[in-house]
């Protein structure tokens, strides 16, 4: 990453503009040949392009000398070299697009595979809106730079080099005048680049924030409306768009100044050549052709040079984007799904002196317990006692600070995550349905996607009646996040999804909270009957669920105790306590 910092001394500054390119090359290793072809093509194209002013100069000389047949000859030559330059330019343009799109394709793929393998803790620090902008607009910003580097920057640099060579062949003094201009151009470029750097970083951050706020506002639209907080939300969003706007304007002011200085420097050199060349031509009474050619060369490079400033803008934008993408690409929070023993684990679950801390706060203290295969265990305890944390440790969404968890005698940290999570089905509190049909949603985690098995799982989850009553039954589309289903229905689809994998261990992390107690018990009974070998751990506060369990574990202040279901006293409204007996009767 050092090559990206751009703060290295001396020549490093000049090449800082290429910083994002060094990053880009990593994703273009398999496109080396195309890259080479594009560079060679841009050499050829610029060479032929610069021949045009030379031949124009020659034609003018011929006209001045009244050699008209030569004029026709040079006109044909101009046509020929322009055409060649044009055709070769096609390779440059198309090739550049190919390179930049390949880069974006490969980078996106890499970002996606990193993103999806990040540990849970990564997502606790990041927001999805911001991650989305990192994986879309930030990639786009760097792609744009790669495209412009290959289609504009490289040809422009060759154009400057060849312009120098051609000027030298026309008249060494012309080249001398040009030589003064180049360092000034470079200096302007460096200052420009430095001054806008921090602003681009902020622009990209505000952009991410915009995504973030949109995401929250859209997903939380009911809360916003429910509390009529619309105006408040608009003010918040407006604050971000305002900061974004301000940064853009600062960059525009810088660009207005520095970017336009560049063609001014080029024109100063052209004026110098015009004055010097004109003067010597008059003194020597020579033909004006070479002078015309020289000035024409300048008018040819003046536009690409004015574009250099924008390339610097693109480069800074890309640099800011890449440093944000890097957060996703850094693999220290990645999980390796394949590492470890490749075996399905089953049998009894054992926690051996497990402790877990978050931000220095001890959530689980030296927890030890064992659950036999096929047992149905209720886990209860006060809100925020650490119940979710405890069950999250089983499929290794988090790793304990100390102690070991083993399933069927195998330490879970020795098993590959892919297989561990195949054996352990986890239904989380927060249910995400993907957009698609109900069938696709149930079949989500399993290759056993045949309709019969899906129906079987849906039946146990007590959602089949509901689904089958829908006009499209299992082919009914559910909206993003399953918005069209009620909370309880969504939970049951998620349970069906988990059952389909026929897991060794099923963890229900308060996964039936929106299902009424009667249906909940029916689901539990169904699991009991159909998946008798499966160990079930259900996190719940519900009396009826605890009473159904074989064993009840209670977690309080990070300490686990075993309870018997009988010890639980139903919480019945005080004022009706008298009637309790009657109700039971």
């Amino acid at each position: 990453m050092a090559d990206l910092s751009g703060d290295s001394k001396g020549m490093g500054k000049v090449f800082a503009v290429f910083g994002p390119l060094a990053f880009g090359l990593r994703y273009l290793l398999d496109r080396k040949w195309i890259l080479a072809i594009v560079v060679i093509s841009s050499v050829v194209s610029t060479l032929f392009r610069l021949l045009v002013p030379i031949y124009i100069g020659d034609a003018v000389t011929a006209i001045q000398k009244i050699q008209y047949s030569d004029v026709e000859y040079y006109s044909l030559l101009i046509f020929a070299v322009s055409s060649i330059s044009g055709v070769v330019q096609f390779v440059v343009n198309y090739g550049s697009q190919y390179i930049s799109q390949s880069y974006a394709y490969n980078l996106r793929k890499d970002v996606f595979s990193h993103l999806i393998r990040k540990k849970f803790s990564f997502f606790e620090e990041q927001t999805s809106g911001d991650l989305l902008s990192r994986s879309t607009m930030d990639i786009e910003a760097s792609r744009n730079f790669i495209l412009n580097t290959s289609s504009q920057l490289i040809p422009t640099l060759f154009l400057i080099i060849f312009a120098f060579v051609f000027l030298f062949t026309i008249n060494p003094y012309f080249a001398g005048i040009f030589t003064i201009a180049v360092p000034i151009l470079i200096y302007i470029g460096i200052v420009f680049q430095r001054k806008q750097r921090t602003h681009w970083r902020r622009i990209r951050t505000y952009y991410g924030q915009m995504n973030e706020q949109l995401q929250e506002n859209i997903v939380g639209n009911r809360v916003v409306r429910g509390f009529s907080a619309e105006v408040q939300e608009m003010a918040k969003f407006s604050g971000t768009t305002g900061s974004y706007y301000d940064e853009y304007i600062i960059v525009a002011r810088l660009r207005g100044k520095y970017n336009n200085l560049m063609p001014l420097v080029v024109s100063a050199a052209a004026t110098g050549i015009l004055l010097y060349g004109g003067y010597t031509d008059i003194i020597g009474a020579t033909v004006v052709g070479p002078l015309v050619a020289a000035v024409n060369i300048f008018s040819l490079i003046s536009f690409p040079v004015s574009f250099l400033g924008r390339l610097i803008v693109f480069s800074e934008n890309a640099r800011a984007g890449i440093s944000r993408i890097q957060t996703v690409l850094d693999s220290d929070k990645d999980e390796d799904l394949e590492l470890g023993e490749k075996k399905r684990v089953g049998g009894n679950l054992k926690f051996d002196h497990i402790s877990f801390k978050r931000e220095g706060f001890e959530i689980l203290k030296d927890i030890s317990f064992e659950v036999k295969a096929g047992e149905f265990v209720g886990l209860t305890g006060r809100t925020a006692a650490g119940k979710s944390t405890l069950v999250n440790l089983i499929p290794r969404f988090y790793d304990p600070v100390s102690g070991t968890i083993s399933i069927g005698g195998t330490n879970v940290s020795k098993v590959s995550l892919a297989l561990l999570r195949n054996s352990v089905a986890f239904v989380p509190q927060e249910i995400n349905l993907i957009s698609g049909t109900i069938r696709q949603n149930i079949a989500f985690g399993s290759s056993k996607g045949d309709l019969e098995t899906i129906k079987w799982a849906a039946r146990i989850a007590r959602i089949s009646d509901f689904i089958e009553a829908l006009p499209d039954a299992y082919e009914t589309m559910v909206g993003e996040r399953g918005i069209t289903l009620s909370g309880g229905q969504r939970q049951r689809v998620a349970i069906a999804r988990a059952l389909l994998t026929k897991p060794e261990i099923l963890i229900l992390d308060d996964a039936t909270s929106s299902v009424d107690p009667e249906t909940e018990l029916e689901i539990f009974r169904g699991i009991r009957e159909n998946l008798s070998g499966t160990t079930v751990i259900t996190v719940t506060h519900r009396e009826s669920a605890l009473r159904f369990s074989d064993r009840v574990l209670s977690l309080n202040d990070g300490v686990l105790t075993e309870e018997t279901p009988v010890q639980h006293i139903p919480v019945v409204p005080d004022k009706f306590r008298d009637e309790e007996g009657e109700a039971d009767a």
Binding site: Y68, S75, F79, S83, G86, Y94, Y105, K118, F123, Q126, T127, M210, L214, E216, G220, N221, R222, V223, R225, G226, F227, A229, Q232, F237, I249, A252, G256, P263, L264, S267, T271, L274, I282, L291, V292, S299, F303, F361, I363, R382, A384, G386, F397, A425, F426, E430, G445, F466, A469, S486, G488, P517, E543, S544, V572, K575, E579, E580, E582, D584
Partner: protein
């Protein structure tokens, strides 16, 4: 197949034609009088200066040929000064065009955001979040390049062409005609490609929107994906979209690259024609060498704007598609009831649901519901999952309007009452409490920004919620993460409760407010509630019975119908749905 959703979305959110959208955009731009006049002034100055410089070059060269030092110095100085003028005019142009572009983009984004606050709730069920975000952020961004660079450049290019053609005609009529021979060919060629170009750009936009949508979904569902170990499947899906996008872009690029090359060839033809024709003119003694050189420069300069124009066309297409997509959100009709609902909300006596039915599409979720709730009354709504309890609360919250029947506030139809005003009377505790990133305090204050932290602390104490938050490292100042992910569901519910209570509302709607809170904490909350609820109207939705002590009257829903109604004792002694539900929760499970 690949774009099924996209097409559906485009149908759902109608899109204006590009030209329409462009017209509207121009109106927005010109409404900023000062900036737009500076921009036009700067663009025209640049164009004129740019056209005059080949002429000063021509005169300088003619003075070299004629051996006149003085004229050489004068014209060379003018040559340079014209560039200095361009420096200043371009600087103004850069700044004013950015101000215009960014102001327009900002206002588009804010207007879209604003309208999102008022579209019907059902809107969010139809449109994917990722796509919606992409419309407001990414589509806005495509406009930036177009408005900042391309549009001013083309205006300046067109001005340059017009001024230079006038100058050319002035100096040499015949040679100008020769120089213009290629222009029709150029125009015809450019126009013939437009249709294809547009289709290509639509395809690339859709494919990138599909990528954004997919990414958004995956990021949001990442926990589920991990739980089910389907990372690989998701990668394959994404790769498919990524590939489609690549192909679409390459296809679009093929056409634009071919176009660029063809332009170069046409340009060469133009220059050659001018040279040959110029030579003939010179032979006839009709032109000077300097003018001929100027003409060659002019012909070359024609092509720059034309090439830009073609790029502009691409950019115009993609930007207008983008703008039309943002306008689609801005124009989306707001929830009908917010439009002409202006009656102030004043709750004096009762809320009544009269013959209310509601359906989300096919079947009725609620059928012919008649309930009258007096001010200060506390009612409970119970029933099985899917009985329609939450739908009922959504209707009372005015998230939806009944398909049949009406809801009346003191006899006044809810449709005609100002939604904002009405919702100020109510505080809901929704089934799925949504959390914003920020601290616990921030999240509670969200519903009542005027409240103080001390008030929150007092509420926490009053409802004994301190215990629930005891594991937070920074207490109520702890950052709870996006969507409150760093909290447990129970803690989120506690925040949701605080959020409603801090508003001290007249009507409280509690939808399973304590389903994830442990019975002990729940009991503490309930104990303090009766006091808090004094004089307040309560609508409590639950299938848990721990809270029914708070209510005066219970309404039992079953499959969208009211099946039982009465107080706790009445319902328990009758052998109905309520009795059944109760005995499952508190009876003996041996019975099953």
């Amino acid at each position: 197949m690949a774009y099924e959703y996209e097409q559906e979305e485009e149908k759902f959110i109608p899109m204006q034609k590009g030209s329409r959208a462009f017209g509207r955009l121009l109106k927005d731009i010109f409404s900023m009088r000062r900036e737009s006049s500076i921009l036009i002034g700067a663009v025209l100055t640049t164009a004129i200066a740019a056209t005059l410089y080949p002429l000063s070059l021509a005169f300088a060269i003619n003075s070299v040929i004629s051996g006149n030092f003085e004229y050489l110095y004068i014209y060379a100085t003018i040559f340079f000064l014209l560039y200095v003028v361009q420096f200043f005019s371009n600087r103004e142009r850069t700044i004013s065009s950015t101000v215009l572009a960014q102001s327009v983009i900002r206002s588009l984004r804010e207007r879209a955001f604003e309208n999102l606050q008022y579209v019907p709730v059902t809107f969010f069920g139809k449109v994917k979040t990722g796509y919606l975000i992409s419309r407001i952020t990414n589509d806005g961004e495509t406009l930036s390049e177009f408005l900042t660079f391309q549009l001013p450049q083309v205006v300046s290019g067109v001005a340059t062409v017009i001024v230079s053609i006038s100058i050319m005609f002035y100096y040499d009529f015949n040679l100008t005609l020769y120089a213009l021979i290629v222009i029709p060919a150029l125009m015809g060629f450019t126009l013939s490609l437009q249709g294809k170009v547009r289709r290509n750009y639509l395809r690339t936009r859709r494919s990138i929107a599909a990528i954004t949508g997919n990414l958004s979904e995956n990021i949001n569902a990442v926990r589920t994906i991990k739980s089910f170990n389907v990372e690989k499947n998701m990668e394959e899906r994404f790769d498919g979209l990524n590939n489609t996008n690549f192909t679409a872009n390459m296809k679009a690029s093929l056409l634009s690259s071919l176009y660029g090359s063809s332009i170069r060839v046409i340009e060469a033809v133009g220059v050659a024609i001018v040279l040959i024709a110029g030579a003939l003119q010179l032979k006839a003694g009709l032109a000077s060498v300097g003018i001929l050189v100027a003409f060659v420069v002019y012909v070359q300069e024609f092509f720059e704007p034309v090439v830009q124009l073609s790029q502009l066309y691409n950019s115009y297409q993609s930007s207008m598609v983008g703008v039309a997509r943002i306008y689609g959100i801005i124009d989306f009709p707001r929830q009908s009831s917010t439009e002409n609902a202006t009656m102030p909300a004043d709750f004096r006596d009762h809320i009544e649901l009269r013959g209310v039915s509601f359906s989300y599409g096919e079947d009725d979720a609620l059928r012919n519901i008649n309930i009258k709730i007096r001010k200060g009354e506390k009612i409970g709504i119970v029933g099985h999952t899917g009985a329609g309890k939450t739908t009922l609360s959504n209707l009372i919250m005015k998230f939806y309007s009944p398909t049949e029947g009406e809801i009346l506030l003191d006899g006044q139809n809810l449709r005609s009452i100002s939604t904002g005003d009405y919702r100020k009377l109510i505080a809901p505790v929704l089934q799925e409490p949504f959390m914003f990133k920020g601290s616990v305090y921030d999240n509670v204050l969200f519903s009542n920004p005027g409240a103080s932290r001390e008030q929150i602390d007092a509420l926490v104490k009053r409802f004994s919620l301190g215990e629930v938050f005891r594991n937070l490292p920074d207490g109520l100042k702890t950052n709870i993460g996006e969507m409150g992910r760093n909290l447990s569901e129970g803690q989120r519910q506690a925040i949701s409760i605080l959020r409603a209570f801090i508003r001290d509302p007249e009507i409280l709607i509690l939808d399973e407010p304590t389903s994830q809170i442990d019975p002990y904490s729940e009991k503490l909350i309930i104990d303090s509630l009766s006091d808090f609820l004094e004089d307040k109207t309560l609508i409590l939705i639950t299938h848990r019975f721990s809270m029914v002590a708070l209510v005066d009257r219970i309404i039992v829903l079953n499959e969208g119908n009211v099946v039982e109604e009465g107080n706790f004792n009445d319902l328990l002694s009758s052998d109905g749905v309520f009795h059944h539900l109760y005995s499952i929760q508190y009876g003996n499970s041996d019975g099953f």
